[in-house]
Symmetry: C2
Subunit: 485 residues, 2 copies
Amino acid sequence: MAIPVETFYLNPDGQGTLQAQIQQMIAAGILSGRFRVGEKLPSSRKLARHLGVSRITVTLAYTELLANDYLVSRGRSGYFVSENAPIPPTYDPPAATEDNVDWSRALARSFTGGDTPRKPADWHSFRFPFIYGQADPTLFDHANWRLCALRALGQRDFASMTGDYYDEDDPLLVEFIARNTLPRRGITARPTEILITLGAQNALWLTAQILLNRRRKAAIEDPCYYSLRDLLMQARCPLTPVAVDADGLPPAAIPDDTDVIFTTPSHQSPTTATMPLDRRRALLDRAREIDALIIEDDYEFEMAFLGAPSPALKSLDRDGRVIYIGSFSKSLFPGLRLGYLVGSEAFIREARALRASVLRHPPGHIQRTAAYFLSLGHYDAQIRRMASVLHRRRRTIEKAIEEHGLTVAGRGVYGGSSLWMQAPPGSDTARLAEILRERSVLIEPGAPFFAGEDRPTHFYRLGYSSIPSSRIPEGIHRIAQALAS
Amino acid sequence: MAIPVETFYLNPDGQGTLQAQIQQMIAAGILSGRFRVGEKLPSSRKLARHLGVSRITVTLAYTELLANDYLVSRGRSGYFVSENAPIPPTYDPPAATEDNVDWSRALARSFTGGDTPRKPADWHSFRFPFIYGQADPTLFDHANWRLCALRALGQRDFASMTGDYYDEDDPLLVEFIARNTLPRRGITARPTEILITLGAQNALWLTAQILLNRRRKAAIEDPCYYSLRDLLMQARCPLTPVAVDADGLPPAAIPDDTDVIFTTPSHQSPTTATMPLDRRRALLDRAREIDALIIEDDYEFEMAFLGAPSPALKSLDRDGRVIYIGSFSKSLFPGLRLGYLVGSEAFIREARALRASVLRHPPGHIQRTAAYFLSLGHYDAQIRRMASVLHRRRRTIEKAIEEHGLTVAGRGVYGGSSLWMQAPPGSDTARLAEILRERSVLIEPGAPFFAGEDRPTHFYRLGYSSIPSSRIPEGIHRIAQALAS
């Protein structure tokens, strides 16, 4: 590849002769790894014109670099980076500037820290990845996704892919969600009551920014999804963790002064408890009584292979009090970053305005691709295939767990893709996870899900959405071994 | 298409017999447009099992709907939505719930309003669209973008497309930006000093959240990009608009107590002024003197067809004081939503954490597609092609403007894709735009770019990135006509 002439700049504060500066610039580019072996330099004529120097200056610099073995000449084809030049494997230039800014003072707010654990990016290389929420490439209908993406990249859809929509969404995707996805949860919503988000994370974040501040109180489930707790901490609202039981969030335990209730009724995260219909009604009554809003995170409802999922809380809402969050992260793949918010128009209008300010809109091309994948029926086929595989894995993992005498603390009654597990009291599952990692087993320690200082350390989560059935027994065997020792 | 059985739900609070409820549910689905003419209903056996009712109940409901002409029966193939059923063109269900929430009280903050104008989404249908910042489908290398997208959708890249990266970016894209894009601006940066964002809007927003609050003061150019002013108002920081001159932002006019300076030195937005090298140095000196940070929005630097763009302000930064924002919106297309932030590691770390909380990461597939398009050289070819077309359009528009005696208030010395125009003092270009819209001409009124109450109303912007050369003369003619009348 030729190195574009536009990437050459003389430092306006440069020292020495122009020829020396050009030599230095090219040598520095080679030494930092910016230029690679075999790449072609611009002709002396071109570079001279670009830098505004005489051609002989460039020629002399090139000749000097040739003599020092940084470059080789291939006659009339020009100059190339030499094989003998000392080039690092990746581009890692020396720090360009000293940092003379006092960042501890310059930052108005800090967002680092928090409970969200850093998961191993190389989970594919583990033999027994009992991880949660990552796509299993073997389950995804890759061929049809590609066809839908191609169609969305066609001339006809070009405008929807390339245009700036300001604050709008792809109308095809919104209509499909309204007509086909939400009715599966018993929800009736107009397009103006729906907003596409960059995944459920983005939906939760938007909701927190709009409904909460230092004076508004939020109630969250305990344990709960750690990233939710982190983003609420950033919203700086007072937080009350409410301990969940085998039926999920107990309405009576929600404090009277709560403004917003975050809940996962279909499949409590992480305990997997499903909230029974009676409690759903009680929760709605409680919210009405204290005039609170409810944020229903309905993740993973599609993975219902043991029985039909209950209708969403939102479907029972007669007040416009429930804001519903759906996502395609589990059923398609998380890297897609597509989710949606459903709520009253007054709320969706604000969420749309905030989203426009933060990022405008989710990329048009992925919205259109998803719309095609959904509307051509591939999504339904995909869900059925995933459900049947997950069902098989669930039977296998439950059998193995029973054989090895491990203790299940929670399992979704209608399906899901994980089990909530309990090691003997006093165990430290963070330590357990470290030991197991050495044995090519990944599990998720439970402590980060809990609020407060004194967190139970003996829970852990076993995901079965990314591990083939055939490896489950040996994986569980290794967990049992590690627990025993 | 068959209507999936999963989309049928009986209202748990439903009135009347089960048969009546089923009839009502199906009729309501048809009347709201949820079910379309010709769609197949589930078999009575399937629906009965799904709803947990007896099959005869469903059969009786279907028979009744058949009699009322909502459904037709096609013998053994089953029941279909009848052509005679009254079906609205789009799905528009009646409001499901009364809104019993007092949203004026429930919203902790409002994000609607602001200066960002709503532009016509149907700009394609105007003959003379002098609009700014939309992609011209005729200039985009659609075929190679498709090939890159396909490659990024291949099996080998599946993990990068589908995985949850938490807070990471595509390393291929980051390395390309570091090695090839930033050097064109004279900038040396390590991968840890780069963050991919959902477009420049997202980069500006992240920066404002991290560096500003109610006590930190920001200086902005006046006029400036209206969405920047809107998002800074949302960050609630005190704002000082500093009037720009023909060389852009005058450093001496920046107040001593400024914490963060937002500037567009390459191509002032919207006046298109290019800041000379001396003033760039003076601006850096001024920032050092008052210990302020500088946010450099380097949009559109690629459109340099009249001369090489000056090196970025960031390339002269010796303190780590400049945070640089780049974008692919203008050079690829805005719907892509890809931009990047370059700054000190301490800053990028916070921006990464905040981005993770807000949306995790930009979709993997679009990052990888862009990385291929860039690294295979298609991007450079695209830029060259765009530059040559824009150059031709620029000559055409300047000639037409001269012929019709219109007044240019600012034109980019090295290129760009717009001109900043001036109507006679006292004109109202918002009104002018309305009149022109009737004549199939789109222009952008200038007032929203200005801060404060008493905004000049006689400026307007003419973009030439979406209008073919051949239409420019007639478009300018119509503008001159409208101005004369």
